[in-house]
């Protein structure tokens, strides 16, 4: 039974019939700026032009988006309005007097409901199911994850992961439905950006000064996420179960990134980040696109100690999920600048070295995401190991035997900017 039900048919503003509830699903698609609502109501219509009232639409409805559709075609709507909004001044009339007060009534308050009067031209008479489509603001969503890592992450023992995810819906409108299909679109806010490195007086025309500028938000690819089961929509905050998957097989992977390991000459190695890598497969109990969100990582079970907090990016079906378990002192790395040689009048060969030390008594799989410390464009000239270039990075992935050191050297070809 839907929470809201009433719709009235009025001929020239006089009520002549009441509605029943149509047993059709309600659909909400919550986007970054607005939510698309689709609901069904039953109207008693007469053939030809008439006025009807639709009750209980949220005050946050964008009336320009309102559409009425019959089962197979649109219901022609000639005009509509949500009635008179209170005047935004502080005056009111009381009998013969006028009164000004500081608490002047403004626009509709958030969470109110409103009635819309429409003039429609119905092609036929009788009870008809009508689909209402409209956009509403003030509904937001976010995703969050809880992960429990079962067992110790050791090379000779299998590791499994339990994953719970939930969607938090903040509904600041009066919209309420008992059962609604829920779609989430767009991207929720990204994790907070890292603070820029201090304050320096830099030449604004230098590319380096971009590091100190506030990042300009760029358009990002958008995705749609479907909540598998119908949910109850109520005003306020709701936490909705999204996916639960237990005992997902996970592989440990040690990752060295240029952001975490700077090029330096220090003697002590930098700890590598330990990741658990999972596949988003239906066979594992997942198999749906996962929205980005923060991840709380526990040891043993959900009630175990919270060991880390990370971020899961958008993960498509069959995509790879990576859960960070934090830095590991067992595997360390260095990045070193080996110098440069002039290759041409305006070109250089620049050499870098990456060294990995495995202190564990078993081999480990490592991945190096190397963003060469070069401001301008570059090309890989040579490398001691095979690698893949993706998104301006060199990706090395290989096994490092137990209690050993492994070096990767690569040479870049760079050219000075031609101004």
């Amino acid at each position: 039974m839907h929470f809201r039900s009433s719709i009235r048919l009025a001929a020239m503003c006089s009520l002549v019939a009441a509605s029943a509830i149509a047993e059709e699903p309600v659909t909400l698609a919550v986007g970054p700026a607005s939510t698309l609502v689709q609901e069904w109501r039953t109207l008693v219509l007469q053939r030809g032009e008439q006025e009807i009232e639709v009750l209980n639409l949220p005050a946050e409805t964008d009336m320009s988006s309102l559409q009425l559709r019959l089962k197979r075609r649109a219901l022609p709507v000639l005009s509509w309005s949500a009635g008179e909004a209170p005047a935004p001044d502080g005056f009111s009339r009381r009998g013969r007097d006028a009164r000004w007060s500081r608490s002047g009534s403004g626009d509709s308050a958030a969470g109110d409901l409103q009635t819309v009067r429409l003039r429609v031209n119905s092609p036929s008479s009788g009870r008809q199911d009508v689909q209402l489509i409209y956009l509403v603001s003030n509904i937001t969503w976010s995703a969050s994850y809880q992960v429990a890592v079962r067992g110790e992450v050791a090379d000779d023992r299998p590791v499994s992961v339990d994953l719970w995810s939930r969607i938090t819906l903040v509904n600041s409108t009066a919209l309420a439905f008992d059962r609604a299909r829920l779609y989430l679109t767009g991207l929720p806010p990204a994790p907070p950006a890292k603070k820029p490195p201090g304050f320096l007086m830099l030449n604004r025309e230098s590319p380096l000064s971009d590091l100190w500028r506030p990042a300009v938000p760029r358009p990002e690819p958008q995705y749609t996420y479907e909540i598998p089961e119908p949910v109850r929509i109520m005003p306020g905050r709701s936490d909705i179960k999204f996916t639960v998957a237990e005992r997902l097989p996970a592989l440990p992977l040690y990752r060295l990134t240029s952001e975490a390991v700077p090029v330096s000459t220090r003697r002590k190695g930098w700890p590598l980040e330990l990741l658990l890598v999972l596949r988003n497969r239906r066979a594992s109990g997942l198999g749906v696109a996962l929205p980005p969100g923060p991840v709380d990582i526990h040891r043993g079970s959900l009630w175990g100690p919270l060991t880390d907090r990370g971020w899961l990016p958008h993960t498509p079906v069959d995509g790879e999920m990576r859960i960070s378990l934090g830095a590991s002192e067992d595997v360390q790395g260095w990045r070193r600048d080996l110098g440069r040689q002039r290759a041409d009048v305006d070109a250089w060969h620049v050499d870098y070295e990456i060294e990995i030390q495995n202190l564990r008594k078993s081999p480990v799989m490592i991945e190096v995401e190397e963003a060469p410390p070069v401001v301008l464009a570059w090309e890989l000239f040579s490398s001691t190991e095979s690698c893949v270039r993706r998104a301006g990075r060199l990706i090395f992935r290989q096994e490092v035997p137990e209690e050993s050191r492994h070096r990767i050297e690569y040479r870049l070809h760079v050219r000075e900017a031609a101004l």
Partner: protein, 474 residues
């Protein structure tokens, strides 16, 4: 003598409605020209029965936001026999200050957190909004503005103008019933347009509906008004950062001064009269095309350039940055055979796509510019959901130094939707106009000078990479 007359006239005004001997009828035959900037021009007909001689005429039901300096009327005096000596638009409920001016030396009641105080309002030079009330015992109480919670103005209906009114003092030479047409400008009356297009999955046609929302906050109701909606190109105005130019007739250059009135770019007459109530936004469906052919396609144009000026011909670093968004675009023909064929006003365009379960999905939204009759509507609807692209230069070589260079690119595309899609990959050969594609592992076409386009098809969940090498020579 003139000063005395003015004093008498103002005293009559202060007495409110009693000063106007004759009231004109309610407005009839209203026509409104509404601009998208919030300005509007109104024209209405008032009927009035006038005796010969000097009369005072009152016209009511005017908008609160009327611009009195724009008010004019017809027919002219030599035709109507009405010689208007003075006219004034009065409205006291415009602000608390207006009411205070009207109630100077009159009794009113002020409510403060400490209670209510009544007294005769005394004029003050202070501009802070404080109230000075003279009590019956002769004392004066000054109430600071921030302490005032409410003010009650007794008998306001007769002591003040609670609705806007136009007052005339006129000399009538031709008595009898007359029709007077008032014209005036007003503000806080604006419009916006929105278009909703619903497409069936994988379809090539959609159902388009256009609606105009007219927001009336002018303070007046307009019954059965004929409405023309006018789109404008935005406001001009002097810009201090603009280049200096010689204005016509000036001896020295100055910052360019443009017309401040927005230039109309298009208009649309609503087919039916519309009743607009105050503080109401009324929506009117002005176009409906139940089945209009549309072309929806995806474009990945990945290259982007940083903000630094470079030599694009031989800078090795030029054009090596990229963005990942695949845009979706939609085009349709504005033709009469589809139920359109007239100039479409600029407005918000929303594309909906029907899902398999019958519900619809908002696939994109953006502003659409005006589409002329028989023209082609084209809307960029933002990022296509589930599609992503990357563009990376994988090779650069000088085949003949300073004579011929080669660049190789890899474009990677991802389709995380449940549908098969074709993506138009646009590549700009920006370095020089003498170029040759020496290698490409996908078919392409030249769509414009120095522009080629690949059209790969990606299956649901599919990945695809395109490689090509371009040689520039000088």
């Amino acid at each position: 003598m003139r000063k005395v007359f003015c004093l008498i006239f103002l005293a009559a005004l202060a007495a409110g409605a009693a000063a106007a001997d004759i009231s004109a009828s309610a407005p009839q035959g209203i026509t409104l020209t509404v601009y998208d900037t919030g300005l509007a021009l109104a024209r209405d007909l008032r009927r009035v029965d006038l005796p010969r001689g000097e009369v005072s005429v009152r016209f009511a039901q005017l908008p609160r936001t009327i611009q009195p300096e724009t008010l004019s009327f017809s027919p002219p005096p030599n035709v109507s026999g009405i010689d208007v000596r003075e006219q004034q638009v009065v409205y006291d409920l415009d602000s608390l200050q207006s009411m205070m001016r009207r109630y100077e030396s009159r009794l009113l009641t002020v409510t403060t957190p400490a209670g209510t105080e009544s007294g005769v309002l005394q004029p003050m030079q202070d501009t802070s909004g404080a109230f000075a009330l003279r009590k019956n015992d002769g004392s004066v109480s000054v109430i600071p503005a921030d302490k005032v919670m409410a003010v009650t103005f007794p008998d306001a209906g007769t002591q003040a103008f609670l609705e806007p009114a136009l007052l005339w003092r006129a000399v009538v030479s031709t008595e009898g019933p007359q029709g007077i047409r008032l014209s005036y400008g007003l503000s806080d009356l604006s419009w916006r347009a929105a278009y909703e297009l619903i497409m069936e999955p994988g379809g090539t046609a959609g159902s388009l509906s256009g609606r105009a929302g007219i927001l009336n906050r002018s303070g007046a109701d307009f019954s059965d008004a004929r409405v023309r909606l006018v789109a404008t190109a935005g406001r001009g105005g002097a810009d201090s950062a603009a280049a200096l130019r010689y204005a016509y007739g000036w001896r020295h250059p100055s910052a360019g001064a443009a017309a401040t009135f927005p230039a109309p770019t298009g208009s649309f007459d609503l087919p039916q009269p519309v009743t607009l109530k105050n503080n109401e936004e009324k929506f009117v469906t002005f176009c409906s095309a139940p089945s209009i052919p549309v072309s929806r396609f995806y474009v990945y144009d990945g290259v982007q350039f940083d903000r630094f000026q470079r030599n694009r011909r031989n800078d090795w670093n030029y054009g090596t940055e990229y963005q990942t968004v695949v845009d979706q675009r939609l085009e349709f023909e504005n033709k009469e055979q589809y139920g359109l064929g007239f100039g479409l006003l600029p407005g918000v365009f929303r594309l909906y796509e029907r899902r398999g379960d019958g519900s619809v999905d908002l696939a994109g939204e953006n502003r659409m510019d005006e589409v002329p009759a028989e023209g082609r509507g084209s809307v960029l609807l933002g990022p296509a959901r589930g599609l992503r692209g990357e563009r990376e230069r994988t090779g650069y070589s000088e085949v003949v130094p300073s004579r011929a260079y080669e660049e190789t690119f890899e474009i990677r595309l991802e389709n995380d939707t449940a549908s098969e899609v074709e993506i138009r990959v646009v590549e700009h050969l920006y370095r020089w106009n003498n170029y040759e594609i020496v290698r490409a592992d996908a078919e392409y076409t030249e769509t414009a000078p120095q522009t080629i386009e690949f059209r790969p098809i990606l299956k649901p969940g599919g990945r695809r990479a395109i490689h090509y090498t371009v040689r520039y020579s000088w």
